[in-house]
Subunit: 199 residues, 2 copies
């Protein structure tokens, strides 16, 4: 009974992260009831999306006819401090703090099954080349801002190994009780880390 | 830091049912990394979607140059048995059983805050007119297949009141222990209904 166009749309939506067949079906039927102007706006936005570029330095998407993204173009930022994040939204969260003034590398994923995916390796190799040939062979600091879980920990070790001679120091974000969090509900590992890092 | 096009896309995606700002952001960045051909396919599907029609009888979307949807066009189906469902996906679930051979009305929502929304009232009025002027003033049965919760129960009462003289009987789907379900985990109300309807 599902019309062909809706079936096609469901197939597209199901490929999106964390959208299963049920939500895809609900979304498709939601879309069919949208005003023509809304759907045209959506279409237009998908068209514009195709014109976006991915920054060859940090891999963040950007608009406009430049070689680099606005962050990498910004000369007031310290190019010798580079924070490695898993995904674009992590970068956005860090930027919102308005306190970090270095550059980034978006990894696009974490190491699973004991090794990095080719896409992530490629990005790390691009950073390696940039440090070697554009940044004088060594940067001041690489901050590895990956989520504190098994995959993040393992990826940290792989990155540390690759870059140990290419940065004065390689750091990770602090671990501990989150601001506003409660000691009572903190898990054991968080408490252990919070104790270790007491100051 | 979020590029304008992505901001626009997030705004569109956030209007979708059960998609919050976080998931919308993740989806937008997922889309920006898609192949051009994938995005074009998505665009094309949205364009085709605009050509779909909504059936004036049951309000299910359909393709093609017909006055009614395939279900309402099907003369082997009993037009004098009409099942009222909340949404398209409920209709699809019922169709999958391959045992129901009547027609439908998709309500598009339930009564909240003690009354029906104008859109739902309109659909019920369309059904009322259809029964009065096309189906001889009275149908054999109206099955109200709304989810068994407070809103569904209340909507049932409103529909029953509007149609009591327009159908020989107005029924609801049976309530009880779902097939494969466990009595131990059934909630109290389900057990009460299952006892009441024992046979």
């Amino acid at each position: 009974v599902i019309p062909e166009v809706i079936r096609k749309l469901i197939k597209i939506l199901m490929k999106f992260p964390s959208i299963g067949p049920r939500q895809a079906t609900r979304l498709a039927f939601h879309l069919v009831h949208q005003e023509k102007s809304q759907l045209e706006n959506f279409e237009q936005t998908l068209k514009e999306l195709q014109k976006m570029r991915i920054c060859p330095n940090c891999f963040f998407p950007y608009q406009g006819n430049y070689r680099l993204c606005p962050i990498c173009r910004d000369n007031s930022r310290d190019k010798h401090v580079i924070t490695i994040v898993e995904k674009e939204t992590d970068l956005i969260s860090i930027e919102k703090t308005k306190t970090y003034k270095g550059n980034y590398l978006i990894l696009g994923g974490l190491a699973k099954r004991e090794m990095l995916e080719p896409a992530q390796k490629q990005r790390l190799n691009a950073l390696e080349r940039r440090i070697k040939y554009e940044l004088g062979g060594k940067v001041k600091e690489i901050v590895i801002a990956l989520n504190p879980n098994t995959y993040g920990d393992f990826t940290f070790l792989l990155i540390k190994k690759q870059f140990e001679n290419l940065a004065d120091k390689i750091t990770r974000l602090g671990r501990g009780i989150p601001t506003g969090g409660e000691i009572e509900f903190a898990d054991k590992q968080t408490l252990i880390e919070a104790f270790k890092r007491r100051s």
